[in-house]
Amino acid sequence: MALAKITSVSGTAVHVPGADIDTDRIIPARFMKCVTFNGLGEFAFYDVRFDPTSGERTDHPLNEERFNGANILLAGVNFGCGSSREHAPQSLNKYGFESIIAESFAEIFFGNSTTLGMPCVTLTADQINHLREAVEADPTTEITVDVDKLEVRSSAGHTFDCAIPDSARDALINGRWDPIQELLDNEEKTSGVGEALPYV
């Protein structure tokens, strides 16, 4: 299984405000009644994009026309906390996001995203604020998440050092972000470990 080498993601960005955005917010549980991930994109952030009472579109940034087509999400601290549902990164990915920049990520969400080939990198609150201001002033501002060089750059002139765990960086840039083949290749060793465990 040859996977794409994801060394960088470029495009436009949108900022979603708030700390501790949990996966229930990203994809409400009622939309998880499905046996495939297809079609989850339209439900991303559903309850904040649509007024729960009237069903009308809210003034959420994702509803702003000028951010249509944004493929990079800017967020705050502890993004993706809560449930382990892969439905959350899947819905963001299917919505059109190819990379997420936040102050920090919840671990399960981070791992799930990496396995989809969607790099999640961290910047400081200040740096994210600069990018937010830039994209809000001019939504066509081009942002590049350079996973290889560990940099986030913008056409507004920013260059920030970003962070991502070594293993995730390595997996993304070398096209190994989905580990299944390597896990399968080690079958013999796996069986050995299994045999040594009395409860297995």
Binding site: G82, E187, T190, P198, Y199, V200
Partner: protein
């Protein structure tokens, strides 16, 4: 230097180091349910793979199960998920505790109940509350669906190693203070993201004296504190709980198993990356006031006033939470009216929870206008409760006694809040919209506190509602 349980279990289950530097970890026990497994089975079918160790894979159905007429979901999507799990279990030879088995229930209640959850093992499940199983001295991870695929196909997954934080709680809890309060208190102190990068080891005399149910309640909520897993070292309490359970080692292997399990406990000279010390006597009955599990206060405190928040970030997040909760900052949490009372979930849906709640509820009546529901964590729990007549006590008090499932913990079945109803809930998450209504409001607390709120119709101090004498203390 000695090792922690975490390190010992990790070492025993390491297959090797992957090219990206992560560890390939052997997962001895894989638990699956209807929400996060169908896509994974779809993926292995697509890749032409199979389930490597079907006998180490256990399925049950919990999230979408109706609690009235369990096996007849009116919702066609729920019926489709039910059918998919049945088919996948049959096709791949996976043990399935289905509705007809008499053993169905919330996956984190079923594993321990069946004796599948064992010390020194690695456990994974496509569900973040898998940390519950750590109560037995297992290392148990919640995983995403692609990981579920990996574990199905290879019985392994790629994992980054964690640091270990010892959370030591010593002393006796005051009457009316429960394991749930310990969990909420820890999360309040360390924050909803305080545990990122950590496994939590819960130690100290309080945990030593806890029952398995109490240990499970705290381990369950490790994830609310940001920790990927949490555990308690196995001891006689653990072994006594497991003895005689269907999947526990039989008499012939029992002694060997116990000595092997015992050896997994952290060494006294183990190194911890961090140590937190908490005095049990300081913990009060705790309730949440906001939309994150770390937004908690003791029952006698006032809701924080955003104007007094120490930082701007906190000020904003308090304000956002209070706007959603429609609660004024600076006022007491006690007295906030509730519409719904829910006792259940993998945090507090076990026999001991219903026993303790019934002990105080007996002779009281749910306030008019409050809908109160009690949902046992498993079919076995339901039968145990019914044998003891607990269902009658709940029903006499005005609770609805339902069938087993996740129910209103996340409301993927028909049990949902309506509009902006307020729910006093024994579950684990107070996120916006968590209980089925995009405007619904959740206040987390212990089951006994849920009973107190149900009886008074407002958030209350159970020690007052159920009278001083019953808790054998003088409450001022």
């Amino acid at each position: 230097m000695g090792k922690t349980l975490y390190q010992k279990v990790w070492d025993a289950h390491t297959v090797g180091t992957l090219s990206d530097g992560r560890t390939q970890l052997f997962i001895g026990t894989h638990l699956i349910h209807e929400v996060t497994s169908p896509q994974a089975f779809g993926m292995i079918r697509e890749l032409g793979l199979t389930v490597k160790y079907p006998h180490r894979t256990f399925a049950t159905i919990d999230h979408i199960v109706p609690t009235i007429n369990q096996d007849a979901p009116a919702d066609p999507l729920a019926a489709e998920m039910m059918a998919a799990l049945r088919e996948n279990a049959d096709d791949f030879g996976v043990t399935y505790f289905d509705l007809a088995s008499g053993k169905q229930g919330v996956v984190h209640v079923v594993g321990p109940e069946q004796g599948i959850t064992q010390p020194g093992s690695t456990i994974a499940c496509g569900d973040s509350h898998t940390a519950t199983h750590g109560a037995f001295g297992a290392i148990a991870f919640g995983i995403g669906t692609t990981n579920v695929r990996d574990v199905l196909a290879t019985q392994t997954m790629a994992m980054e190693s964690l640091k270990v934080r010892l959370i030591k709680v010593d002393g006796e809890l005051k009457p009316g203070v429960y394991a749930k309060d310990v969990a909420l208190d820890i999360i309040r102190r360390l924050g909803a993201n305080g545990g990122i990068g950590y496994a939590y080891e819960y130690g100290g005399s309080t945990f030593k004296n806890f029952s398995m149910e109490e240990r499970m309640t705290v381990c369950n909520m490790s994830i609310e504190g940001g920790a990927r897993c949490g555990y308690v070292n196995p001891d006689d309490t653990t072994f006594d709980f497991l003895k005689g359970r269907p999947y526990a080692p039989g008499d012939a292997e029992w002694d060997n198993a116990v000595s092997r399990w015992r050896a997994f406990a952290s060494d006294s000279d183990a190194h911890y990356d961090d140590i937190v010390q908490i005095d049990a006597a300081e913990i009060e009955p705790t309730v949440t006031w906001g939309v994150s599990p770390d937004q908690g206060i003791s029952i006698s405190e006032t809701i924080p006033d955003p104007a007094e928040a120490p930082t701007e970030v906190l000020r904003n997040s308090y304000q956002e939470a209070l706007d959603y909760m429609k609660l004024p900052g600076g006022t007491p949490i006690k007295g906030v009216p509730i519409d719904v009372a829910f006792i259940g979930s993998c945090t507090n849906g076990r026999l001991s929870d219903f026993r303790e709640a019934a002990r105080f509820l007996q002779g009281h009546t749910v306030a008019s206008g409050v809908q109160a529901i009690a949902v046992p964590g498993s079919q076995i729990t339901a039968i145990q409760c019914e044998k003891e007549g607990l269902d009658k006590i709940f029903e006499d008090a005005g609770f609805e006694w339902r069938a087993a499932g996740c129910s209103m913990c996340l409301a993927m079945n028909p049990d949902k809040l309506v509009g902006d109803q307020v729910c006093a809930s024994s579950s684990n998450r107070n996120f916006k919209g968590r209980q089925g209504s995009p405007l619904g409001r959740t206040i987390l607390m212990s089951p006994v506190m849920v009973c107190a709120a149900a009886v008074r119709g407002v958030v209350s101090d159970a020690r007052e509602v159920f009278e001083v004498g019953e808790f054998d203390i003088a409450v001022t």
